[in-house]
Symmetry: none
Subunit: 205 residues, 4 copies
Amino acid sequence: MPRVSEEHLERRRTQILDAARTCFVRKGFHETSMQDIFAESGMSAGAVYRYFKSKTEIIQALASDAIGGLAVYVADVLAEDPVPPLDDAVGRLTSRITSMTDGLGATMRLAPQAWALALYNEEFGDYVRERMTGFRELWVIYVERLRDAGMVPADTDCRAAGKALFGMLPGFVIQYLLVGDITPEEFRRGLRALASSTALAPDPA
Amino acid sequence: MPRVSEEHLERRRTQILDAARTCFVRKGFHETSMQDIFAESGMSAGAVYRYFKSKTEIIQALASDAIGGLAVYVADVLAEDPVPPLDDAVGRLTSRITSMTDGLGATMRLAPQAWALALYNEEFGDYVRERMTGFRELWVIYVERLRDAGMVPADTDCRAAGKALFGMLPGFVIQYLLVGDITPEEFRRGLRALASSTALAPDPA
Amino acid sequence: MPRVSEEHLERRRTQILDAARTCFVRKGFHETSMQDIFAESGMSAGAVYRYFKSKTEIIQALASDAIGGLAVYVADVLAEDPVPPLDDAVGRLTSRITSMTDGLGATMRLAPQAWALALYNEEFGDYVRERMTGFRELWVIYVERLRDAGMVPADTDCRAAGKALFGMLPGFVIQYLLVGDITPEEFRRGLRALASSTALAPDPA
Amino acid sequence: MPRVSEEHLERRRTQILDAARTCFVRKGFHETSMQDIFAESGMSAGAVYRYFKSKTEIIQALASDAIGGLAVYVADVLAEDPVPPLDDAVGRLTSRITSMTDGLGATMRLAPQAWALALYNEEFGDYVRERMTGFRELWVIYVERLRDAGMVPADTDCRAAGKALFGMLPGFVIQYLLVGDITPEEFRRGLRALASSTALAPDPA
DNA sequence: TATGAATGAGGTTTCATTCAT
DNA sequence: CATGAATGAAACCTCATTCAT
């Protein structure tokens, strides 16, 4: 009795990923055993292994969904017309991050583990690298739009600025997850302060 | 060989930590077995366990050393008189980070794993939280000095700005470790661009 | 082979317990390693741990079976109608003990280890205490029946007598196991001699 | 620096045995590590091993002391002139047992472990067997004295009776240690009840 | 004589994965 | 398609004992 509906397959996959996410958020990748996932999902070992051929594959699928979920949002925000100001863009994205941390899936809690895994699992590292690069490119393009709109100097190194902006997000994630004493609003204020600063070394050029 | 000198004990400890660091950098915390550490250190199981009573304790010692090493440097830079400009400060710290990544110990490669571990190991989490908070406080004080020196507006939210500045470092670490296409110099240029930007939303006040 | 019959599961359990009993009788609880049990049972580590979640649980199951096996027999003998004479009751129970010592399982050889374990393992101690108390109660009831039948004085402290009678069994077990120079028949003769004695101190009352 | 006084040696031995006894009473033979004994005695590994060449030897020395301590007392009581009545003899010995259980050394708490060990350690088994036999012989002689004094029938099987009497002690020990709801006085009453019983099968002869 | 650092085999238990049913 | 019993390598850690100092 093969011929199972596409929809059924997708439901099963989701069921597994939801269970795995719950477990991973609760205990971490390594402390979560496949048995935990079987129990949480209410599925048998064999069933789970029909949909994912290894634990790593489950982790990758989850990471992929998470990155995807954020990427779509980032793309939307950064592509808005007219180009949104720096502090608005960052503020909205960090808000999104908090909701991805506290919401049901709590997906964002997996981020540090995914970074760590990417360092030691080549295949996963390639994947994360690729997505991260693409993701960051959105910021570069955003800065180019700022430049074109005259909101940053015409000779701005847009790539460098994109990297710096993108680089603020992991720092927010870590402070939010580990210390927990930061809000999107405060982070936004901090960014405004930096952008208002004149505390730069004399132009080296 | 009983009645051993204090120095001997310290050398043993270092020998273990060096071996462990090498293993952890190579394979990650979880993929490194205690056997790996015994082999790398050339010591027996019993000997290693005389100095550290668990694998976690080794990880903590390593993290502690690493955080300490960076903290001292950060403290030095941020406390300089006269207060160094933003881009200089960040530039020098990211340089330090690259040397802690590529140097012998390559300690910084452990950072993402430590963040991940801190999320799921309460004791370690407490420790990291505490150190991270103290570390970040240095940035807050630094911004206050900038303010006192008139290099940022007098009404700057120094705490928020400190958090934002501190928050740039994890982003640099991740890009440097995972993607590898960033340099302290480029990051510094990016920061200069942000600080020169006028792309802020109208003051909400 | 999933979806396995109840009977199959029971067979596995028995297979493990039989192997464990053999090992324990041969080498004792502590000298028997789990590897020994895997080898003796012909099962893998994982399989054994599916049925018992620790070595202690195996020991407890074995003790439980043994105590149960003896208790049923004791209950039968002591409840017989008409109430059996002292020497018959003790004689038959010690016979039972010898067959539980020499028979296939040789379960009774585990008794001293179980007593020792009960002293240092709280949970196991509670269990043994409870069973031993229930077991001993059968003797108390038996003496009450002797009293009601006029075979011991009407003012007999039946509880004390029950404890004394029950207390003869460990002494038989130890002499049988450790020295080996005693038989149920001889023990019975000894008991008859005590019961025929007039060597008591003057009634303290 | 050789030529250490005999007294010094003896003091060291005692120091070790006291520490070991404390540990064994607290945690049992197997759960007590040599490290525990080093710590409890305040001596170094090397020092302890100078006096006892193995853990087993310490256990044996302790068992030897304990058996000896009880044996001397038993010999005294059973050899009294005139020959003491049954219930007095047993009552006084069980009292002694309680004081050896609750006293400082709590030596008697080691008995079940010693019995268990004797079953699986041939050398120790031989030793215990020998001592137990000698010990029991005191009871046989005691019954012979009862017979000679006309306090038991002239045709009494004194050996059998001695074994039965001796056999009551382990049962007292176990009830006292494991259940804890028995006193020498109650045990004595129970014995009196048995000796007053007429509940014997018709003489098989 | 005394020290205590060192040994390293061996302890129990877990886990991702497979495959007969 | 689904089940879940079974595998067995490998994980972390302890321990009785030794011997250079």
